[in-house]
């Protein structure tokens, strides 16, 4: 968390409305298909399965009739002050590209998993097994995403390849690839969500909806007090959800805490 935080003109971000999320898991499936994640042999081994995007179930912990449930989809938070980047001994993961997406270059990774230990969101996954696609299923592989072998760490990249393609489309059409209109680049989970709970865009661009949503009074970020400065915002009108997102103590007021490393962006 030391060192100056790099600033970007474009800041790709997400706003996920937890009140709209029904926990259907369409985003998880879309992510799995888009990013060449092999089908799990035994999905009940929860410490071995790979989910770049994972939907968590939250509970307010109260008995019926006051019980309430919320679902929280968790992609990589693309932190402004990432914990994973400085611990990597092999320069696998960097936050150095316009847009603020944290890169992961798999052939460099030798699987020490420091980044996994460092990530407070548990957004990183280790390939315990070689990925295997049953006969014929390999035809569903996307050529836009490289496949990862056993022994390396991987994570959500905000479907970075889609940004590359959107930039190329803009270039060929003669438009500025660094000033994409809203919707020209969205992640596969955004596209798959049947409720429109996930909104994706440039947090720095006032013309993008996500910019407005991130400044909503109902917006919060996960474990914000750690000072990671994530680029994923969550929205909920339910106070207990917002409190849970930051592990508020009983005596703390909602939304009032001091971040450890500073690092707020406007």
């Amino acid at each position: 968390m030391s060192g100056a935080q790099q600033s970007f003109k474009i800041l790709w971000g997400m706003a996920i409305d937890l009140d709209k999320c029904t926990g259907c898991g369409a985003c998880m499936v879309a992510c799995q298909a888009e990013n060449n994640l092999a089908p799990e042999k035994d999905a009940s081994k929860k410490q071995r399965v790979m989910n770049w995007l994972k939907v968590f179930e939250l509970s307010n912990g109260k008995p019926f009739p006051d019980h309430d449930t919320a679902y929280l989809p968790r992609p990589c938070q693309q932190c402004g002050n990432p914990a994973c980047v400085p611990v990597c001994p092999a320069t696998v993961t960097k936050k150095d590209e316009e847009g603020g997406i944290i890169s992961q270059v798999y052939p460099r990774c030798f699987g020490c998993r420091y980044c996994m230990a460092a990530c407070p969101y548990k957004a990183r996954y280790f390939n315990w097994y070689d990925p295997e696609w049953p006969q014929g299923w390999d035809k569903t592989l996307s050529p836009d995403v490289s496949v990862r072998p056993r022994g390396v760490v991987e994570k959500c990249t905000f479907c970075h390849h889609r940004w590359m393609k959107a930039k190329d489309k803009a270039r060929v059409a003669g438009n500025d690839p660094y000033d994409l209109p809203e919707g020209a680049y969205v992640t596969s989970c955004t596209e798959a969500c049947p409720n429109g709970a996930i909104v994706f865009g440039d947090l720095n661009n006032p013309k993008h909806l996500v910019h407005k949503l991130a400044h909503s009074e109902y917006a919060f970020r996960l474990l914000e007090r750690l000072g990671m400065d994530p680029q994923v915002y969550y929205l909920s009108r339910r106070e207990w959800v917002r409190r849970l997102g930051n592990h508020h103590l009983e005596n703390e007021k909602t939304g009032e805490f001091t971040p450890l490393g500073g690092g707020h962006h406007g």
């Binding site: 390849h161 393609k165 270039r171």
Partner: protein
């Protein structure tokens, strides 16, 4: 005894010149031969393209330009090598009288099959190369004296075969399966890591600029 010893020492000195330098020189020549001539021969297999494509005829006699076949699609992707269907626009039946063309029409166009083209620059799975980003509109903003031909081939990305009559041999690394002329990362870095380029796009040497 002493004379004999001295004599021995003399001949010993001569022997050490011949016996020392000659094997060293021979060994050097031999290892250079093994390193520069034999091992590349062993490591790389030479292959021919499936079709003896003649760029020159298409350019000069048919009056085609590069972008007639190598064009950008509307979605920003690059067409690369034309499909058999596109070639069949003209070559549904042999246009000329050459035996090679007749062979191509019979073997591929009539059967609707794609030739197994060997791509000289095939990149590894974890590389994302954008042709649109490396267009003359982009690079030519500063490199005003560059032509498209220079941009594509002189910079070392592609072999300059725009005016060739037959495709060059394709050599493939027997171990890795990569083409010998596949662009290496240092060649990408030659432009991407250039300090002068940083001003143009501050982050153009980030990992995700080229990797996926």
């Amino acid at each position: 005894m002493e004379e004999k010893r001295a004599h021995n020492a003399d001949t010993g000195g001569q022997c050490s010149v011949l016996g020392g330098f000659l094997p060293f020189g021979l060994g050097l020549v031999l290892s250079l031969l093994v390193g520069w001539w034999l091992s590349p021969k062993l490591l790389f297999s030479e292959q021919s393209q499936p079709v003896a494509f003649n760029h020159k005829i298409h350019k000069e006699e048919a009056g085609m330009t590069c972008s007639d076949c190598h064009y950008f699609r509307e979605d920003g992707s690059y067409s690369g090598i034309p499909t058999t269907k596109e070639c069949a626009d003209c070559h549904e039946f042999p246009v000329g009288s050459s035996a090679k063309e007749r062979e191509y029409v019979n073997k591929y166009v009539k059967k609707g099959q794609e030739p197994d083209w060997k791509v000289y620059q095939m990149q590894p799975d974890n590389v994302f190369f954008s042709h649109a980003a490396h267009s003359l509109e982009n690079c030519g903003k500063c490199h005003t004296d560059w032509t498209e031909k220079e941009l594509c081939s002189t910079s070392g990305c592609h072999p300059d075969i725009g005016d060739s009559e037959a495709p060059p041999k394709y050599s493939e690394n027997r171990i890795t399966g990569y083409s010998a002329s596949t662009m290496k990362m240092w060649a990408c870095e030659y432009c991407h890591a250039m300090p002068d380029h940083r001003a143009y796009n501050a982050n153009n040497n980030a990992c995700f600029t080229c990797h996926k």
